[in-house]
């Protein structure tokens, strides 16, 4: 076999390094994540308990991860519900409605949104949103302002650029012929968007939402600052809850022994959640290419 030429060697090397890094990382997280069951002998079913009592100084420890799993899913879903109409609307505006000058403003504005660090989002949430909820919606039960809704609203803002830019690409990818054909048949622009562009771009928009959800599941800092971090099953938008990422950052510096292993198990659960989303995105993508 002939020797590989330089470009091939370099690109192949880069690919191998990245693949090796991913495999090692996954292996490490899985290995640390199962220590709780393998080394400390905690039954696997215990992580589905609603009780989180990891403190060895208290009598009887229970490593129930249900509050964190439920909290992560709850915060994430509400964030997507709030963010989706706004970002899909914005993407439609940019792709179909906006004059060129407005598009020139909207696109860099989106990029700025992406560039704001999450700690700044959290800080804004802590200094503006949390007191606002407490002062103006205290009558709805926002006793402290730290709440499920506060976490979801901060996340909604953070995933807005993700959903917007991927949806925008999906709308732009709809062939101009389809729009022209629709308009030629006498539809209004709104009818063309509703009955032609939106259905044609549906899988792309769905992919955008799933990408947004994935981003939301992994965000730690901004959410932790506004959510109150109470390890309970979410029951009210106005009450403090917690998430997997938030609890890991709270305890990782000080937890030792079995407690530390439980944090790695949370990391593994988070990995499985995002893996499920990746599979969902692949599946949606396949649907699109067949269509």
């Amino acid at each position: 076999m002939a020797r590989l030429d330089a470009p091939r060697r370099i690109t192949l090397g880069a690919a191998l390094v990245v693949i090796a890094a991913v495999v090692l990382l996954l292996g490490f997280i899985v290995w640390r994540g199962v220590q709780l069951f393998v080394v400390s002998g905690v039954p696997v079913t215990q992580i589905l308990s609603p009780t989180w009592q990891p403190d060895p100084l208290s009598e009887g420890t229970t490593y129930g991860l249900l509050p964190f799993i439920a909290g992560t899913l709850a915060v994430m879903v509400v964030a997507a519900v709030v963010s989706t109409p706004l970002s899909v609307g914005l993407a439609l505006f940019m792709a179909e409605v906006a004059p060129t000058w407005a598009r020139r403003i909207a696109q860099p504005a989106m990029e700025v949104f992406v560039g704001i660090p999450s700690v700044v989002y959290g800080w804004l949430g802590l200094t503006i949103l949390v007191p606002f909820l407490r002062v103006h919606f205290g009558w709805l039960g926002f006793a402290t302002g730290f709440s499920w809704l506060a976490g979801s609203l901060v996340l909604a803002l953070m995933i807005l650029p993700t959903i917007t830019s991927i949806s925008y690409d999906a709308f732009v990818a709809v062939p101009a012929d389809m729009r022209s054909a629709s308009l030629a048949l006498g539809t209004t622009r709104w009818q063309a968007i509703r009955h032609v562009v939106l259905p044609a771009a549906a899988t792309g928009v769905a992919t955008a939402i799933v990408f947004g959800l994935t981003r939301a599941a992994g965000e730690a800092l901004a959410v932790q600052m506004v959510i109150g971090n109470a390890p309970v099953i979410p029951t009210s938008l106005a009450r403090p809850v917690t998430t997997l990422t938030s609890q890991i950052t709270l305890d990782m510096s000080d937890a030792t022994g079995t407690w530390n292993e439980a944090l790695w198990t949370m990391g593994l659960v988070l990995l499985l959640i995002s893996l499920a989303f990746v599979l969902l995105i692949r599946w949606l993508g396949r649907g699109r290419s067949q269509a």
Partner: protein
């Protein structure tokens, strides 16, 4: 086309080099950057704690790292700066990370000293803890603080605090949930806890709650002195616990509450009458040698114990 983008990349590279050179210059040699008024002021603020603190009696050259408790970090950082200011051939790197991290890292040999708010026995397995040597260098205290809107409550007993924080067995709420039951306004009590793994929470649980479990279900949890201070200052009816130094820096934002009639102060902690306090531990793996030993000895010497420690709101070890 290619030449244009190549030029652009070249320009970026030059800009980046200039930027890196500028940053490197100001951090590696403070003296050279003293021409800038801003960095001179920052250097003065950094050195303020160390100024007036005499260096060690004898220098030992070398390089060590300590990590762990963020509550002890300001003290160890200031002491390390005072040591290296007098002994330019030695390097002492001080990192935070939390007590658990410090203990784990010193056990692994990743650092020479692990700083902890709590004993190694309470964090590690007995076989691991027995490899570590404890050096108690100071005493640190915490103040119970409430939102400034909680008027009329200046002192609480341990029993009252237990009734506010602890869940009676089988109950999901504490006995006292409104400030009016302890002489305050008609306002719900909002507990702000530290993460269960923190040394602050462990000390409070042991000293004030007699080991009873906190009602964490209804409470907020914030992970640092700074976050707790912010939350207490802006949440009506909230109560929490913060370190002495953080209270001193935020006196106007939160209201201090005496514990069993004793105010939280360095003097009361040093005399032993204020009980919400704990020893600050520095652990080494085996007996310390070289710079590690010299630095630990320096921490026990008069310049640190009599001058630096009180100035940072810790108490000396007699």
């Amino acid at each position: 086309m290619i030449t244009t983008s190549a030029k652009r990349i070249g320009a970026l590279a030059i800009a980046a080099t200039v930027l890196v050179a500028a940053c490197g210059g100001s951090s590696s040699s403070p003296a050279a950057a003293a021409t800038s008024a801003a960095s001179a002021a920052a250097a003065a603020a950094n050195g303020a704690a160390a100024s007036g603190v005499a260096g060690p009696a004898a220098c030992v050259d070398g390089s060590i790292t300590t990590s762990g408790s963020t509550a002890l970090q300001p003290l160890i950082d200031a002491a390390g700066k005072a040591y290296t200011a007098a002994c330019p051939k030695s390097t002492i790197s001080v990192q935070g990370g939390g007590s658990g991290t410090g203990l784990t890292q010193v056990l692994q040999g990743a650092v020479q000293i692990g700083d902890s708010d709590v004993t190694a026995e309470s964090k590690l397995q007995a076989s691991d803890a027995s490899q570590l040597v404890d050096h108690v260098v100071t005493k640190q205290g915490w103040v119970v603080v409430a939102n400034t809107g909680v008027t009329g409550v200046t002192s609480l007993t341990s029993q009252q605090l237990q009734d506010m924080w602890a869940c009676p067995s089988g109950q999901s709420a504490p006995k006292i949930t409104n400030w009016k039951d302890v002489g305050g306004p008609d306002l719900p009590i909002v507990l702000i806890l530290r993460p269960a793994s923190s040394g602050t929470r462990a000390t409070f649980k042991q000293v004030v709650l007699n080991g009873q479990t906190e009602c964490s279900g209804q409470a907020l949890t914030e992970d640092s002195n700074g976050a707790v201070t912010t939350a207490v200052s802006q949440t009506p009816g909230s109560i929490s616990v913060i370190g002495f130094a953080y209270y001193q820096a935020n006196k106007d934002k939160v209201a201090a509450i005496s514990l069993d009639g004793v105010a939280g102060s360095v003097a009361n902690m040093a005399s032993g009458t204020y009980k919400l306090a704990a020893q600050g531990h520095m652990y080494t793996k085996g007996q310390p040698t070289g710079l590690t030993k010299s630095f630990l000895d320096y921490l026990m010497s008069d310049p640190i114990q009599k001058t630096l420690i009180p100035s940072l709101f810790y108490a000396p070890i007699q």
